[in-house]
Amino acid sequence: MRPFNYQRPANAEEAVAMVDPMGVAGQGGAFLAGGTTIIDLMKLHVVTPPSLTDLGPVGLDEIEEGNDGTLHVGARVTMAKAAEHPAFRDRAPVLSEALWKAASAQLRNVATLGGNVLQRTRCPYFRDNVSPCNKRDPGSGCAAIGGINRLLAVLGTSEQCIANYAGDWANALILFDATVETMSGDGGREIPFADLHVLPEDHPERETVLGDDELITGYRLKIPGWARRSLYVKARDRDSYAFALASAAVALDMDGDTVREARIGLGGVATVPWRAREAEEFLSGQSLTEETAMRAGEIAFDGAQPYEHNAFKVPLGRNAVAKGLLDAASLDLAGEAQQ
């Protein structure tokens, strides 16, 4: 690791005041939450922040429910704690399953939900700190497009970058019209979660709309009653503790066999957390059969651009969507106590 200054603010206000965002190409001061991404990348010298502002003492680690049923989720709630929280586990299982199917128990015990949605790509050319990479070194080119791109994205790519978004939970959170609460030197603001990440386009070094001194303090979301019918399908190279090759977050509002409303998020295949809205619209009012589920999967991957080694992600992703829809539709919720 390169030397850095270590700072311990007493609260979130102090944290944003001391983070010292001045720097070049994202190498300004950084916040330290669980550290499972940034310490890894600092050891690789992929990121070399001049200072770390440790959020350990700032709290923000509770999940609370308001009188109107709105959940407020602190940014420093760990993945492990959130995965087992009844608000997620019992009322929107996709929000729990996308967590416990991610990383390892050790990582989930320290990694936080604020850091989780900001997890950096696992593109090997970004991480190797040598290859041309427009995300790490803007303007240097993209070694992945003509390289070994098996793990990389087929949706939302650009000629500058095909790095996939590596996380899981964001692909589930995007189903629920959640709001991101932030704090910065300019005060605070609320951002629709679906607007947090930005497509790579010509500036893959820019991954979110957050300012350099802007801290995610929490999320607000309301879980609809029908979200009990939700799940996360994750296809990967091994059964556990691996990144998604393709994943589907699915929540269904059903009237008998007919879909009132479907929500579908995709992981492992896109450059940002991805909501398959056209596929959702197609399903609305349809009866859910193997045929309509497969058709929804096809629509979700309309416009996909595969590269030399990752074309398999298109059928894998389509099938993940179809499996998610069929499995969610067949969940037997009748025997469970109503909330």
């Binding site: 690791m1 030397p3 850095f4 200054n5 270590y6 310490i39 890894d40 128990a105 320290v110």
Partner: protein
């Protein structure tokens, strides 16, 4: 046969290749081949004059309070191995991918390679050395022996610490759950069957141990 003026060993261009120089070069390259971890550790111990900032840290390690003044880059893994000489906690990947460095921090398992010691200030850590003694093994240690839960043994301290966490965190219900919640610990010898059996066998005793400590 023509002599190339660009020959790297050409004495008049590059100087004589002496035996001493050759040995020094070899030593330097073997040190490099030993891996970046040692170099990183020395860098983190203040050997690098540009290392800079130090931080004062208090930690309870295996029940005893300790205070340190550390380069801020020191991870918990660096700390226990290099400062405390507790070498049971192993360096595997050093990037949170293998679980060899697993310790308990305030009772839950973490990868010590990815946590700065500074960020753990005031907290309590248990390493494999704090789990049992030579004369009185922890039930999980005994179960690993009885079930052949290892072959070479390198991943074993991390496996055992993780197994204790797996049980006390409530995820050792059946074999499928044990396999899922132990997946952060890789074993290149492939002793997974024995490991799974050991966790199941020691589950109840480990819960009793956790209540008693």
């Amino acid at each position: 046969m023509t002599s190339s003026p660009e020959r790297p060993s050409s004495p008049d261009r590059r100087g004589r290749v002496t035996r001493r120089g050759l040995l020094k070069g070899t030593a330097a390259s073997s040190a490099a081949a030993l891996g970046s971890y040692r170099a990183g550790a020395q860098e983190a111990q203040g050997g690098d004059p540009s290392g800079g900032e130090t931080v004062h840290v208090q930690l309870t390690i295996n029940g005893a309070s300790h205070e340190f003044t550390l380069d801020v880059r020191t991870t918990l893994l660096d700390l226990v191995r290099e400062q405390m000489d507790l070498t049971g906690t192993k360096v595997g990947c050093n990037h949170g991918q293998c679980g060899a460095c697993t310790v308990l921090l305030d009772g839950v398992r973490i990868n010590s390679c990815l946590m700065l010691a500074a960020a753990a200030d005031g907290r309590s850590m248990t390493t494999i050395e704090g789990l049992g003694t030579q004369d009185e093994l922890h039930p999980m240690q005994s179960a690993f022996i009885e079930n052949d839960g290892f072959q070479c043994g390198y991943c074993t301290p991390g496996q055992i610490m993780s197994a204790v966490g797996c049980v006390t965190e409530g995820h050792a219900g059946d074999e499928a759950e044990i396999r899922e919640y132990m997946s952060g610990n890789l074993c290149r010898c492939g002793a997974y069957k024995g490991i799974t059996n050991a966790v199941a066998q020691a589950r109840d005793d480990t819960l009793e141990w956790a209540e008693a400590t």
